[in-house]
Amino acid sequence: MEAHLRLEGVAKVFAASGRSAPVPALGPLDLEVRRGEFLSIVGPSGCGKSTLLDIAAGLLAPSAGRVSFEGREVRGATPPGLGVVFQQDASYPWLTVSENIGFGLRRRGLPAQAVADRVEEAIRLMGLSAFARAYPAQLSGGMRQRVCIARTLVTEPRLVLLDEPFAALDAQTRLLMGDELLKLWRRAGATIVLITHSLEEAALLSDRVLLMSARPGRIIETLATGWPSERSSDLLTDPRFAALTQRLWTALAPEARRALGLGSEAA
């Protein structure tokens, strides 16, 4: 089966600026995302995860290698059908919550009633019903992030890239949003790539987990979780979840130490 998203030999070196030396931020790495899978990418902070996402979405040109989405090369522009949720707040402060969520749909020229219906449903799914007319400035950081998630999902992308979307949420909301994401994934049949620094989140939600090395990030391990697609946060108490998290940490700990400059001796 063809890969939904494929990165071949992709690397990024940020050019030197002023007195600072060039920064090798990412790769070279190869990556294949299968159509319909839920894939998580975990790596220590600063290892190039957000850079990887920008490159995959066509927002940043790689220094080497190529990216293809649905068999076509991604170059200089985001292909239709590919949605992104950024790590930082990208809500539009001049629009209300529902106007934010409907922004892309309106640009696609959908009739007003269809936009309103889809926006309303997305607002309900994200638990924002009481805030439809509020402006982002009146929301918490976590709620703003939910607005951005809704704004992306409402356009029904075939592939969704999410960059640490739940980082601003408290632990409980995080679990609930993870469950919602799983439901949406099953219902929409979209491919999901979730970037996270949370091993638990990756272990719980994914079909496969990719582990990245410290900067410049490469793929050091790929793990299949073996979960059935009907899954939820109930797995938290499953002994297999603990074993999986343990395995991920064993592989990742040396990289996390390296990223912090702690050396490699066992703790």
């Binding site: 979405a57 927002l59 522009a77 950024f86 930082q88 539009y92 001049w94 640009r107 400035a137 009146q138």
Partner: protein, 249 residues
């Protein structure tokens, strides 16, 4: 609310003090008319229709100057934002714009544009173009990268991004510059008329002054001050609402 009432109270108290000072002879009636006479003169002017005939060309020129300042300033600001090198070269010059006595250019403008509304519009817009452009730049500098990336995801080109993303984001900042532009348009146009113009409020004020026509002079002054204050209060309220909406207040 209490603050606004307090402010109105202070203005009222000053007017009453002036009224008392003139009526009891502490200030000569030839120098200042009592406020009650100013109001009466203004009402007479408005009733006779003269006020509107005097004010129409002035307001038309002010409106044109404001429109020119806002549109020109936005385009100028977007150009500077799009070209960092141009911006680095001329922004330092622009930053001292408020120190330039622009009226020294008025005779030149009359020579170039002829005696009529055009030099007035130009002098009324000159200051505002720059204040709008600079305030736009200030807003654009704060535009978060993820918002720009979202625009690219949506497939917005440079113009669509300017229209749908950059300008709405910068609106509260631009409004601040626009407020200065509105004040400058009134000053520029009325000041220009005062110096040399075939008609308009500034011309009428200068004539009333030359003719020692105090009721007309003060009626017109009161009118100009009232209009400018009302316009500014309106803009101020709008700016405050926008800033509250954005959590900038």
């Amino acid at each position: 609310m209490a603050l606004a009432a307090g402010r109105a109270g202070i203005v009222l108290a000053l007017l009453l003090a002036l009224e008392a000072a003139v009526r009891w002879g502490a200030v000569s009636r030839n120098a200042v008319a009592p406020p009650s006479d100013m109001v009466a003169a203004l009402l007479r002017l408005a009733g006779s229709g003269l006020l509107w005939r005097l004010a129409a060309p002035t307001f038309a020129a002010v409106a044109a100057a404001i429109a020119l300042a806002v549109v020109g300033g936005l385009v100028f600001g977007l150009l500077l934002a799009a070209s960092p090198r141009l911006r680095r070269a001329i922004e330092p010059l622009l930053l001292s714009y408020y120190a330039v006595p622009i009226f020294v250019f008025y005779p030149l403008l009359i020579v170039v544009l002829g005696l009529g509304p055009l030099p007035l519009v130009a002098i009324g817009a000159a200051f505002g173009v720059i204040s709008v452009a600079l305030s736009l730049l200030q807003g654009l500098d704060r535009l978060p990268t993820p918002i720009l990336k979202s625009a690219r995801l949506e497939g917005l080109g440079p113009w669509a991004t300017a229209w749908h993303i950059r300008l709405p984001f910068a609106a509260p900042f631009v409004l601040h510059g626009a407020k200065l532009a509105v004040a400058a348009a009134f000053i520029g146009v009325i000041g220009g008329e005062f110096i040399l113009a075939p008609n308009g409020l500034g011309r009428a004020i200068a004539n009333a002054y030359n003719d020692f026509d105090n009721p007309l002079l003060y009626g017109l002054l009161l009118f100009v001050i009232s209009v400018v204050t009302a316009v500014n209060l309106g803009l101020h309220a709008f700016e405050r609402r926008l800033r509250e909406q954005r959590g900038l207040a």
